[in-house]
Symmetry: C2
Subunit: 254 residues, 2 copies
């Protein structure tokens, strides 16, 4: 198996970076090949916009979808986007490593999605969801949060983590991926332990690293998050009667 790790954290000595290293070491030890997109280290530009397109289908008015499709067709996508797409095309599994900032992925990773998941090249109106470009491949998010685990439960103050990650996971499903349930490391704050004593915190970090390695060793046993698909929708794009809704996986856990 070939694995791409999309790593998004500005600090090379962060716990996110440590989890990324655990993934690289574990996957290589299992005999897989691993490639890393280190978005901050590589200086990825997150803002989609006209500055990335020397060739324009419409030179007057910029539309991201129009220029993504046009530049896909004539093979003039931005060099960094071409590089990321080539990495995705090689990967049987994509691991996203990032901290939860403002109830979502950091802007850097959001911009990677805005720019790399190009219309025309990687999806069209018909080529998405369970007919998506990357169908048959898997993706998983490994996420750190800044609060105690209980606050990210379905009744927690921090917000139900399943609900917070839904837009990101649904985007991955949109691209065709089988999306595995996320790996979560709670209570991580770069400035030091907030909710625990120093010793407990250090032990907790080691436990998380071991848990992540174990999770990666047993990934074959994971069941992807269930999503509805084309056979569940009518011609208006609405669920047929009797079919479970999008939030099935959330409700199923309660």
């Amino acid at each position: 198996m070939h694995v791409l790790i999309v790593h998004c954290h500005p600090e090379p000595h962060s716990f996110n970076a440590a989890l990324k290293d655990v993934a690289v070491e574990t996957l290589q030890r299992l005999g897989h090949t691993v490639e890393v997109s280190d978005l901050y280290a590589e200086g990825f530009e997150p803002a989609e916009g006209p500055q990335h397109y020397a060739q324009r289908s419409d030179p007057r008015t910029f539309s991201a979808l129009t220029e993504q499709r046009y530049n896909s067709e004539i093979a003039t996508l931005p060099a960094d986007v071409q590089r990321e797409i080539a990495r995705l095309e090689r990967a049987d599994l994509v691991v996203f490593q990032f901290p939860l900032w403002w109830h979502a992925q950091p802007a850097m990773l959001k911009g990677w999605m805005d720019r790399v998941f190009v219309y025309g090249g990687l999806y069209t109106g018909k080529r998405r969801y369970d007919c998506g470009h990357f169908r048959g491949r898997r993706a998983i998010c490994s996420v750190t949060t800044g609060g105690p685990a209980a606050t990210f439960g379905h009744n927690g103050r921090g917000g139900d983590i399943e609900l917070l990650l839904w837009p990101m996971n649904y985007s991955l499903y949109y691209m065709g991926y089988d999306v595995l349930p996320p790996f979560l490391a709670h209570g991580i704050q770069g400035g030091g332990p907030i909710y625990q004593a120093q010793d407990t915190f250090k032990a907790q970090l080691e436990t998380y690293k071991a848990d992540w390695a174990q999770r990666l060793e047993n990934l074959e046993e994971d069941t992807p998050i269930p999503f509805t698909g084309w056979s569940d929708w009518d011609e208006r794009g609405v669920l047929k009667p009797g079919v479970e809704g999008y939030d099935y996986f959330i409700r199923a856990r309660r």
Copy 2:
């Protein structure tokens, strides 16, 4: 009333820009003062990271929270962040105008949140949610989507729009805002009408503009999205027995 419009679209002639103009004109006509943060036009840098902090609490290891707090305290926050905070401090109402990209706000706007909502200065562990810095003020998202309205219903293929906007709206509530239900303009694609004939599409755009103006004229009648607050949570940050959960507003609509 003084209003800040945080506008996020790369194209000055986009429909998002037209909706932003409608908001400016309508609010001024009503006698309010209006200020616009035009994130693309002003070249806002969305990626939070060490490059923004000349002064460092910890010069060795970068933590966003640590440096946000430290630079808040010694009044050395980045100039663009100081400008945006000053704009927020002046505003009784904040309007966010953006297209839905990958089931969320564009990276540019996500980065505005990552960088401008600074720890220490604008929130702390105790100063958030219904004790947040901007309590008593209002915020509203005006969002364009690229698909038909039906596909963004609770049973729609595009994903329940209430669920997709939850992380953004919950972040605004985290800062203390009363968050009004979003204004939605569906089926907008910059490249031209996809789902409708040209004539129908143009008429639809005019209808959306009129609807947005009318919504802004009657904003006083809007009921904010209900969120749980400090009195609903126990000391672990979990809802007390019998209290409705975070997804109350979603479930209430079904």
